[in-house]
Every structure is written in structure tokens, then in C-alpha cells.
């Protein structure tokens, strides 16, 4: 076993957040299930009877709420675990010891990556029973559960790789974490805003007779890198052609590989920063 992985996991599980975070995380997800179920099934505004929700509808709503909440929480946590992973070695002056040992830059990177991703995966797996509750309501099957989990995992791996790149580039954890969050926000919010603005502009140009559905495909390309859209696409079954979620996953994987390659290059030159 890579000694870095053993060291990282040991240190991580010794921290208070090793047990505080999973507890809080599950509490928030449980709250999300309860709220989603409550809002979907209760007639809050006194118009009951007009559109009584079906069980499958409630199932899909609860599933998506939990999947999105989970993704949001994990996207917030990914920079915490990855962006500080290498900078902390610089801050506590231990990176020189690693770089002058027989560990390669790839060993160091891989140890940090696996440790970050394993902790996030632990949270992801611990929430599976909560997501599985929606099986009882209908509308959601093993396919959706597996694909949503797979998409979340690949997105998180990619974000961890981006966090590690920032960590290898900056000297201070605070800077690396800030830039990692900027990337998460750019992918989650900016892609959405850019698509909305581009569609609105296209509609203005095309005239009032054109609807959003008629907008050219390329306007939606930024959304391929939106984590939330990627998970939502699991519910869209395409009869022919490549599924959109799969294309998104490839893009996230490519982003992760690129970040890993640059992080390794930075680690090779890490002696400048110790």
C-alpha cells in the first residue's frame, strides 16, 4: 500500500471532522428528504385536490432533492479536503522530507488524491440508504441510483484533482481553497448563467416566434460541465445517440486528468516552494 495513503487516512480519521462531518452530512440529508416529501405531498396554499401528486412523482422529487443536496454538500467539501492537502505539507515544512525520500511525485499525488476521494466516498456511500428510501415511492430504480452515484463520484474525483492542482500551485491553503471554490462555483453557477444569457440573447436575435426548444444545441454545451445538470440528465433516457450524462462524465474525467498532469509537474518542481 502506498505509504502516503496510509498516513493521510490515519491523520484524517484522527481529526474531529472525521466523525463530525459524516454526522452533520447525514442530518442535513435527512432534513432534505423530510422537506422534499413535505412540500411535494402537502397542499400548502389550499388548492388541494387539483393536482394530487402520484407516488412516482414524489419519489423522483425526493430522489433529485437528496441527490442535489448531496452533490452540493460534497462539492463544498471537496476543496476542503483536496486544496489543503499539499499546501499543508508546505506550511508545516514537511514537503522537503517527502520530496527527498524515495516517494515519487506520482506516489505523493496519488496518496493525497485517494485519501481525499475516499473520505468523500465514505460520505457518498453513507447516504445510499437515504437515497434508497425513494425506491418505496416509485419512479426511481437501481439504474438511476447507480448512475447518479457514479456521476457524483466522477465529478468529485475531478474536483479533487482540481483542488490538488491548486494545492500544488499555491503556497498557502487559503489561496488554494479559494481558487478551488471559484472553480466549483464557475462550473455549478457560471455555466448555468452563461447558458441562460446565451439562450436569451438568441431569442432576442431570432425573434418572438422562436421558442427555447428551437435554440441550437451549442448554446447548451456549457451545461455539459455543470455537475447538477449532469446528475439530472440521468433521468433523461435517449433512444439513440450518446447519453448526455456519459458525455459530461468524459469531460469531467478529462478535466481531472489535465489537473492531475499539471499537479504532477508542479510537484516535480516542488523544491522551489520548500
Amino acid at each position: 500500500m502506498n505509504p502516503m495513503i496510509r498516513k493521510e487516512l490515519r491523520q484524517r480519521m484522527r481529526e474531529r471532522r472525521g466523525w463530525v462531518l459524516p454526522s452533520l452530512y447525514l442530518l442535513v440529508l435527512t432534513g432534505a428528504v423530510a422537506l422534499a416529501y413535505f412540500f411535494k405531498t402537502q397542499d400548502l396554499f389550499g388548492f388541494g385536490g387539483l393536482s394530487e401528486p402520484q407516488g412516482a412523482e414524489v419519489g423522483v422529487t425526493v430522489f433529485l432533492t437528496v441527490a442535489f443536496t448531496q452533490l452540493g454538500l460534497l462539492l463544498l467539501l471537496a476543496p476542503v479536503f483536496s486544496a489543503g492537502a499539499i499546501t499543508i505539507e508546505k506550511e508545516q515544512r514537511t514537503l522537503a522530507g517527502l520530496l527527498t525520500s524515495l516517494l515519487t511525485s506520482a506516489d505523493i499525488w496519488w496518496g493525497k488524491f485517494v485519501a481525499s476521494l475516499l473520505f468523500l466516498s465514505l460520505l457518498l456511500v453513507s447516504a445510499l440508504p437515504v437515497l434508497g428510501l425513494t425506491f418505496a415511492l416509485g419512479g426511481v430504480g437501481w439504474r438511476e441510483l447507480s448512475l447518479a452515484t457514479l456521476c457524483t463520484l466522477v465529478i468529485l474525483a475531478s474536483m479533487c484533482a482540481v483542488g490538488l492542482y491548486c494545492s500544488s500551485y499555491f503556497r498557502r491553503s487559503v489561496h488554494a481553497t479559494a481558487v478551488s471554490y471559484a472553480v466549483v462555483i464557475a462550473l455549478s453557477v457560471l455555466t448555468f448563467v452563461v447558458t441562460l444569457l446565451a439562450t436569451w440573447y438568441w431569442q432576442q436575435e431570432a425573434g418572438p416566434m422562436k421558442t427555447r426548444e428551437e435554440a441550437p444545441d451549442y448554446l447548451g454545451y456549457p451545461l455539459l460541465l455543470n455537475p447538477f445538470v449532469t446528475v439530472a440528465m440521468v433521468f433523461v433516457r435517449t433512444e439513440e445517440g450518446y447519453p448526455t450524462w456519459a458525455l459530461s462524465l468524459k469531460l469531467f474525467a478529462a478535466l481531472g486528468c489535465l489537473a492531475a498532469a499539471f499537479a504532477l509537474r508542479n510537484l516535480e518542481r516542488g523544491g522551489e516552494q520548500v
Binding site: R10, L95, A96, G97, S101, E272
Partner: protein, 311 residues
């Protein structure tokens, strides 16, 4: 064992090393002194494979540090100027991690960790967290970690910084023992008395280049070699004026300082000349109370070389 030829390294166009050369023989305990910013830390980082040089060549045990870092690392133990520790690890875990990082085979790992614990005097505290150790014990742990893989060369950058006098004495003792065991040691330090005590030779470095003392030597031999100059501290009974006059008539002697009944004289020549001066004073009827002669110390030679620059 360590060959450095015309080594160059710049940071943003500012040279840190500017053609520094050095040869350290196998089994030497070699010191490196120079003012702040002289390039000592950069040199040691290059030798430890942490930094690439811009030019020149550095070899350890025949391996080029830039071209063969994977061959150099098992041979070298490196202790940086501000070394870090994993404070939240136990002492034994810390050593086991670095034993794994140096790829010690399973059969060698356990004995190596035990030996390191013994060397650091931490057998009793193997389960303690690193953060609980005193600064001196942490330094012992770091040195023990550096020696886990039994390197042939030790590169130490200011290892005594921040240590109390007892810990410094302890560190000097450890380094002497290691050197006797055959480990070649290159040590940079600001504490000249420490270097004078343990090193056989010291190189002078300034502005990234080889610096020289008043006699034009860039590498000073500190032990078992006669110096061409002797400094004499003389104390006489009564006024020292007559003694000062006698000194002025002694060939090769120069009166450096006179205060009360004390004189400081610098002599050109070896310790035999100092004995001759003593005889000369006694023959001149001077009542000599004390006569100490010694070659110029490292501090004195450092002052001559760097004209008061801070080490």
C-alpha cells in the same frame, strides 16, 4: 564523495550560486560558513535533489544529482534549515512512515525503526505524539528519521538553530559519532564554535562564490594542522610598557592590543616562534604571569574573510 563544480543557480535573475566549487572527501565532517544569503541553503537543496541547478555540476558518490536523483536519494540524508514534523503522528508512526517512504524492505523496517528510536533516545516515548516532545527531542527525532535508510552522506542545513546549549552539545556528539561510523557530513551553521569543534575542514562561501580568508584560502583546515600565524595573550607583573618594547624588538611580532598589564601579540610563524617570544621576554627581565598562544580561531578567520558580515 561530494564534488561540486562551478555550480550556478538564480532566483528571478538574482544569482544565489555563482560558480561555487567544492570537494568533500569520503568520511569528512565538513562545514560550510558564510553570511546570510551566501547560497548555503541553495547549495544543500541542490545536493539533496530538491532544486535543479542552472549550470555547473554536482555529484555525490559519483552520481550526478540532477541527472540521477533516484540514485542519489538513497545515499543522502537531508535535514532542512526549518524541518517539519507531523505533529499529530505518534513517534513510532512517524518513523515507520519514513521507513516506508524510503522503501525499506519488510525485514529491515522494524530493526531500522527500533535503531532510530534508540538513537533518538525515544524508546520510552514511542507512543507519544510528536507535538508532545521538547524541541531538543524533536531535533533528535528528525536526525533519527534522516538516518533511517542509513545514508552515506548527511546534508545538514543549520541543524542547531533554536536548540538550547545542552541539545547543541548532544547534537555535536551525535554528529561526531556518525562521522566515526564513516558517514560523510556536510553541515552549514551560523554557530562557528560548533563547526570549530566538530569539523575537519570548513569552506567559506559569499555571494554564491568561494570566498577566501586573509591568506587567500577558501577551505580552512581546522584540526591538526599548524597555522602560519599565532596569537599570544600575555599577562605580566606590573606595567606592560617594558614588555611592549621587548615585543617590538622581536622579529615577526606585532603588538595588537595593550591594556594595563595585558598584551595581545600576533606572530608570524608556528608555535615554536611563540616559545621563542616567551624566552625573549624572560631574558629581557619581564616577569611573565601568563602566556597563552593559539592559532587563529574560526571566528577570527571568519572576521578576516567577511570583514564583519554576520554569519
Amino acid at each position: 564523495m561530494i564534488e561540486i563544480e562551478e555550480l550556478r543557480k538564480s532566483y528571478n535573475g538574482r544569482p544565489a550560486l555563482d560558480g561555487f566549487s567544492l570537494l568533500v572527501e569520503e568520511g569528512e565532517l565538513f562545514g560550510l560558513v558564510g553570511p546570510n544569503g551566501a547560497g548555503k541553503t541553495t547549495l544543500i537543496k541542490i545536493l539533496s535533489t530538491l532544486l535543479p541547478a542552472d549550470g555547473g555540476r554536482a555529484r555525490i558518490a559519483g552520481h550526478d544529482v540532477a541527472a540521477e536523483p533516484r540514485a542519489v536519494r538513497p545515499l543522502v540524508g537531508y535535514l532542512s534549515d526549518v524541518p517539519g514534523l507531523y505533529q499529530d503522528m505518534r513517534v513510532s508512526e512517524f518513523l515507520e512512515f519514513f521507513a516506508d517512504a524510503f522503501r525499506l524492505p519488510r525485514g529491515r523496517k522494524r530493526p531500522a525503526v527500533e535503531r532510530a528510536l534508540e538513537r533518538a533516545g525515544l524508546i520510552e516515548r514511542r507512543s507519544a505524539f510528536v507535538e508532545e516532545l521538547s524541541l531538543g527531542l524533536k531535533q533528535r527525532l528528525l536526525l533519527a528519521k534522516t538516518l533511517l535508510h542509513e545514508p552515506r552522506v548527511l546534508l545538514l542545513d543549520e541543524p542547531a538553530t533554536g536548540l538550547d546549549p545542552l541539545a547543541r552539545i548532544d547534537l555535536r556528539g551525535q554528529l561526531k559519532t556518525l562521522n566515526r561510523e564513516g558517514v560523510t557530513i556536510l553541515i552549514s551553521s551560523h554557530i562557528l564554535s560548533d563547526l570549530e569543534d566538530i569539523c575537519s575542514r570548513v569552506a567559506l562561501i559569499a555571494a554564491g562564490r568561494n570566498a577566501a580568508d586573509a591568506e587567500g584560502r577558501s577551505v580552512l583546515t581546522l584540526q591538526a594542522v599548524e597555522s602560519p600565524r599565532v596569537s599570544c595573550d600575555i599577562e605580566v607583573v606590573g606595567d606592560a610598557a617594558a614588555a611592549a618594547q621587548a615585543v617590538e624588538h622581536f622579529g615577526g611580532a606585532r603588538l595588537v592590543e595593550q591594556a594595563g598589564n595585558r598584551l595581545r601579540v600576533e606572530l608570524t610563524g608556528s608555535s615554536e616562534r611563540a616559545a621563542a617570544l616567551l624566552q625573549h621576554l624572560v631574558r629581557a627581565g619581564i616577569a611573565v604571569l601568563r602566556f597563552d598562544s593559539r592559532g587563529p580561531g574560526l571566528e577570527e578567520r571568519y572576521r578576516e574573510a567577511f570583514r564583519g558580515q554576520r554569519p
